[in-house]
Point group: C2
Chain length 397, copies 2
Amino acid sequence: MPPGDRLLIGSGRLLVAQPDGAPRPGPLSPWALLIRDGLIAWVGSPDDAPAVGEVDDLGSALVTPGLIDAHTHPIFAGDRSDEAAARLAGTPYSGGGIMRTVAATRAASDAQLLDLTAGRLAAALGSGTTTIECKSGYGLAPAEELRQLAIIGRAAQRVGIRVVRTFLGAHAVGPEAASPGEYVASVVDEMLPEAARHAEFCDVFCDEGFFDLQSTEGILTTARSLGLGLRLHAEQLARTGATELGVRLGAASVDHLERLDAAGVAALAQSRTVATLLPGPALAMGGPLPPARELLAAGARVALATDANAGTWGSYSMPMAIGLGATLLGMGVDAAVRSATFGAAQALQLDEVCGTLRAGLAADIVAWDAEHEGAFALRMGDVRPARIWMAGIEASR
Amino acid sequence: MPPGDRLLIGSGRLLVAQPDGAPRPGPLSPWALLIRDGLIAWVGSPDDAPAVGEVDDLGSALVTPGLIDAHTHPIFAGDRSDEAAARLAGTPYSGGGIMRTVAATRAASDAQLLDLTAGRLAAALGSGTTTIECKSGYGLAPAEELRQLAIIGRAAQRVGIRVVRTFLGAHAVGPEAASPGEYVASVVDEMLPEAARHAEFCDVFCDEGFFDLQSTEGILTTARSLGLGLRLHAEQLARTGATELGVRLGAASVDHLERLDAAGVAALAQSRTVATLLPGPALAMGGPLPPARELLAAGARVALATDANAGTWGSYSMPMAIGLGATLLGMGVDAAVRSATFGAAQALQLDEVCGTLRAGLAADIVAWDAEHEGAFALRMGDVRPARIWMAGIEASR
């Protein structure tokens, strides 16, 4: 028996997800799970469990894979809560939105940004997120965007959370650019070659009033040629066709989709591109909701994420995203939990790394202060991790 | 200068509410507030502040009155999260709903119920609630209902939260009753005379499939004659006229109102009865939403509450209720915060005790980990108290 092996056992519900098309098992209960070298080595019934020295009994707690947040913007300075209040009061707000955050973020020191970002990632981990996608995008100039990617990496190391970095230079047109075209050229020629060494994905804010389909395609094809995976902001403010563009380019994910129509649902259902839904900002913005039930019914891959950012949603709680997905988006609890674990892993192309509890994947595991996953709908962000293992190591609390 | 005086000062936003009809002040900033003998002795500009020994600088933190949760059901045993998941999956659930909770609660010992209830009240206080209304109603027999009222009082004492107790024997027909009429007679004749000595209010679940208008009126008029204040569950499952009954009987509050129509809105606007809205279960149940904007526009008194209970909503977070009120119900942040403080105090007939920050009221004060109340919409339940004062005493953390 190798030293360091640890057997977790429980009499409660262990939620597992199967690959697409495989039969969907109910939760295991009772269950046992063997951790070896940071990975899950075995999962099954306690009766069949291998004999190991260290056994940890989690009792009746609900146990899930570590949650995966596939869409966040955690690196910025400043506070725009006043904008949220003004928007909900129907008051036109003249604070400058994203450019206000860009100015505050550029003005912050590396140490300040590191502290701010690490604090947000710690909040994510503390609410049960073990893997988090983090976008740059509040820099909008070559040195600033690269600085953000570097600090995201350091913040994740400090916190001990698995991070996926996304370059989002095309979040808005940089304030110094003489024209959108000039800025797109800067993204493609100046930023992408260097960003590709510090990020896994490239994202573009492809929507009405931001980047059009042609610019988006130019940025993403260059990103792909540099080895970056692709993701898009799509169909939030208008039905632009960003979804079909993402499918055609082989994007890992198209995100938002509040204005997706039946043709877009069908396009996603026939693709491997994940529909990443963001119920938090959809709630806070008061606009249309993404067609979650239609996407699930059509067989599309679906992920849930927080979209935690500076302006429209500020919570890093994936339990709240699950709760809002289950209720506000009408997904139900099973699909919402699956979308926040297995579907999110697909959206980050990490489904051979994490996202469910099967042998060979990372031992990213959360035991909750709940006995049934229905608690995510009843208590939302109030459901808290009781214990968290990150690659087999229990997070200190 | 009396010993024990304490001056709080801040450079951030201090939110205050004025009585109905008075001009609505903006937030005070900067501000100073004098605590003396558990009360607010003075509020104003730091320049005009009295000289005292102990000064506590809260910096740029947002400061509000302690939040007031005017509708909860915190005393029960058992877990019905599975029901929530089944309901959201569209599966008819045969678990017995409220009767399942009644059975589990009756089976629990006093010590168990005290621990469970105190844990919930501690969660409420920890999320910024300094006054909480707590209903009995999972007993449905004379001794059980009285046991619940007694334990609620002990739990509140243990936690150090201001409590308002409501007798809700008429939550459902007790399982031993041969007929609804027999149960109503038991409520009126057996339970109410004793309950009136241990509660401030009487509530009735007046809705389709529960208690009808006639039974409700019988219970409430007896309650009133015994000195209890009145509140009603109204218009959640059907438009029954419970609102107009409540107005006619002088109820402090009618609660839920998902199916209230324009006539009901008008009736409330012309009364002193508060419309207590419960966005959590409205979200979780997926049905219609209460007409919050219409009530506000008509000038009705409005409160927000969690309705934390065993079956349809489990969160004691008033910040989440404020966030859902501001967004899901479309109230905006200002009205949502006012409804969770001043409006809720009116709903509990405590507006001469707490609910705003003015001289003479209890020094129930929360400093938040936020600088602007818009954070309640952006971060919802993630907004946390940094410091809490309860009747002038700072809560330990």
